[in-house]
Amino acid sequence: MMRHIFSLLMENESGALSRVAGLFSARGYNIESLSVAPTEDATLSRMTIVTTGSADVIEQILKQLDKLIDVVRVVNLTEGVHIERELMMVKVSTSEGDADEIMRLTDIFRGKIIDVSDDTYTIELTGDGAKLDAFLQALDRNLIVETVRTGASGIGRGSRILNP
């Protein structure tokens, strides 16, 4: 069971997302995360899906995605060199007087404090999934009030380009 990242270009039409999500649930494939947004070309959306599966399941997922009428292009990013990033916002409690420690950790992980209230900091952090996990591990669990993660976005390195 390997982790794979699929990158898709699809027609920016209503219902396209549910076709992809429906395919995964109908055929019993896993979705670890899914992120989608329009591209610089307003007729296209770009989606990143992180999934796990055996080699033959992964091959089927690729083919099944490609078969969807709204999917223009699909690639398995994990098959070549690629970059993966995820954005996370973590709200932590500062009421116990740990503010300095939190700022130090945020610096080490190259995060930013983007909101401050009387008793909370909200930290923004980007990186691959493992880095975000490590940051959460490093924080005192009792201080975490809320987390939100976007799920991974992926892009091929250098000349590896996903064109319509």
Binding site: E11, G15, Q60, K67
Partner: protein
């Protein structure tokens, strides 16, 4: 000139060459029905239940190769049609469904007769489109026909809100269509085909396994020439029957759960298996692990890449339109000086003939009760093998597939993938509408026929002279058979109590009814029925209650692990 959306929908059908639409009116499609009323090019066939509209359009498509069209209203109209849409989807049948929808401003308001049609049908269509602007309607219908009929065919639904069908716009039908996200392959890679030819030439125990894809791509001629040229044995799946002539000596019968002994043994023991437009379905190869225990090279020709290596790993995948690929292969074979070794091939044929001599389809022809096999066999004789046969789902379907020898494609119309009871009569309606002068027979059982029995009324209205062969054993026969084999003879809810008098029922709809309960009357009754050329005849054959379909590969077993009679 400006037309309403409703008029545009019908004009689009005309542009696509549609002659018949099967449907049922309702609130959301009243404008479309009004547009139908005010023209005479597209003819409408009024069914009695929307499920039958979808099945009839599906049957029409299977028999003609054209895109079948059905028209239903919003809400219950479309939910009733879903079984028919799913049936067509599982067998890759080109179909366009036009459904009414509540007006755009009412969508999402839980309006009267509103359902999320695009959501409900999404998993059982090739594609679907909700049209929210009348200017998008003609392009959407063009796209629907294009997607339905190309690549691996399938049903496409166009959902038309009532206000869209009422609004006006300038009509022009797009002449062509290019979709950047949909470009199905046609021809195969030449390099791969050269490898395929090499493997074929070196085969010692070759086998051609062809399915519905051959019929869908109208490649029967090419398949037949291919098989004849190589003198390889051929098996046609349930969906592929008629693609290669069943009366040809190279035909070894159907494979699978109720396939012939020789077809299954040859599939299991071959060293080169050439799958053409077939998908290694669970009802064909049984347990994939057992199938894969035997070593053989598998060549798989299919237009849909997802069908390749889905259930069994394939050695030589060939993605392309079956007809084009077979043409490519034929020209390579014609140019090749090599031929398969006739001596080696003869050994293989000797083995197959030995399996064939097992006579796996034998039944008691002298029985005192009517054996269902006898009815189908006699039907085959009486119609000289020349009827278009539709069937429902169950034992009778398997006997029809085993005993009616189809020599031509598109003469055998049945629900293979979804296994939908109730399709037989509406399929026959679709076929008879397309071919008024052909002999159309519906082989059914007393359980299946009751699932769409109301369509006897449609048959009366349009004077469809369908011949219904009802194999009446008072049981859901296939359910009963499984209960006998695998559930210790506990016949839970498979006995059909309180059956109607089918003769009187047929008569009450204005048809001819016949009841036949003696084997000696079977042939006479069939001959009598086929003399009534312009009438629907309902033949109620009272058959052996406990007859089973053999051979049988029990669920979970391998192809060569058959229960034989």
């Amino acid at each position: 000139m400006e037309l309403t959306g409703a008029e545009i929908a019908i004009r689009c059908l005309r542009e696509e060459g549609v002659e018949h639409v099967f449907g049922y009116p309702g609130g959301a499609v009243l404008d479309i029905y009004d547009a139908i009323f005010r023209q005479d090019k597209v003819r409408h066939v009024l069914v009695r239940h929307e499920q039958a509209a979808a099945h009839a359009a599906d049957g029409y498509a299977r028999a003609t190769g054209k895109v079948g069209v059905c028209l239903v209203t919003s809400g219950p109209g479309v939910t009733n049609a879903v079984t028919g849409i799913a049936t067509a989807y599982m067998d890759s049948i080109p179909m366009v469904i036009l459904s009414g929808q509540v007006p755009v401003p009412a969508i999402g308001q839980d309006a009267f007769q509103e359902v999320d049609t695009v959501g409900i049908t999404r998993p059982c269509v090739k594609h679907n489109i909700l049209v929210k602007d009348v200017n998008d309607l003609a392009p959407a219908i063009k796209k629907a026909f294009h997607i339905a009929s190309t690549g691996r065919p399938g049903p496409v639904l166009v959902d038309i809100p009532k206000d869209v069908s009422q609004k006006k716009t300038e009509f022009s039908y797009p002449s062509g269509i290019q979709l950047r996200s949909y470009q199905p392959a046609t021809k195969a890679e030449p390099d791969m085909l050269r490898q395929v030819v090499q493997v074929i030439m070196s085969a010692r125990r070759p086998m051609i396994y062809s399915g519905g894809g051959v019929i869908l791509s109208n490649a029967s001629e090419e398949l037949t020439r291919f098989a004849k040229l190589l003198h390889f044995p051929v098996t046609n799946t349930l969906m592929g029957l008629g693609a290669f002539p069943a009366t040809d000596s190279q035909f070894v019968g159907m494979p699978g759960m109720h396939g012939t002994y020789e077809a299954n043994m040859a599939m299991q023991n071959c060293d080169v298996l050439i799958g053409i437009g077939a998908r290694f379905d669970d009802r064909v190869i049984g347990n994939p692990a057992h199938f894969f225990d035997a070593s053989r090279k598998i060549i798989h020709i299919d237009i849909d890449p997802t069908s390749i290596s889905k259930r069994v790993p394939v050695d030589l995948p060939v993605v392309g339109h079956v007809k084009d690929v077979l043409k490519q292969l034929l020209s390579l074979l014609d140019a090749s000086r090599e031929k398969p070794d006739p001596g080696v091939l003869q050994d293989w044929w000797n083995q197959i003939e030995l399996w064939r001599s097992r006579d796996c389809l034998k039944f008691d022809r002298a029985a005192e009760v009517i054996k269902p096999q006898l009815v189908v066999d006699t039907l085959y004789q009486v119609t000289s093998g020349d009827a278009i046969v539709t069937s429902d789902v169950g034992q009778h379907q398997m006997w029809a597939a085993q005993f009616y020898k189809f020599d031509r494609p598109r003469r055998w119309i049945n629900s293979g993938g979804l296994g939908t009871m109730g399709v037989g009569l509406p399929y026959a309606m679709g076929v008879q509408t397309a071919f008024p002068d052909e002999t159309v027979v519906c082989i059914t059982g007393e359980a299946s026929i009751q699932m769409c029995i109301q369509e006897l009324s449609t048959c009366r209205q349009y004077r469809l002279p369908i011949k219904i062969v009802n194999l009446n054993n008072r049981y859901m026969g296939m359910v009963r058979q499984w209960q006998e084999f695998f559930y210790g003879n506990r016949y839970a809810e498979s006995y059909v109590d309180a059956l109607p008098d089918f003769v009187k029922l047929a008569e009450s709809y204005g048809h001819v009814g016949m009841r036949i309960d003696k084997p000696s009357d079977v042939e006479g009754a069939l001959k009598e029925a086929f003399k009534l050329k312009d009438r629907l005849v309902f033949m109620d054959f009272i058959t052996d209650q406990t007859e089973n379909v053999y051979p049988m590969v029990p669920s979970g077993k391998g192809m060569s692990e058959m229960i034989l009679v």
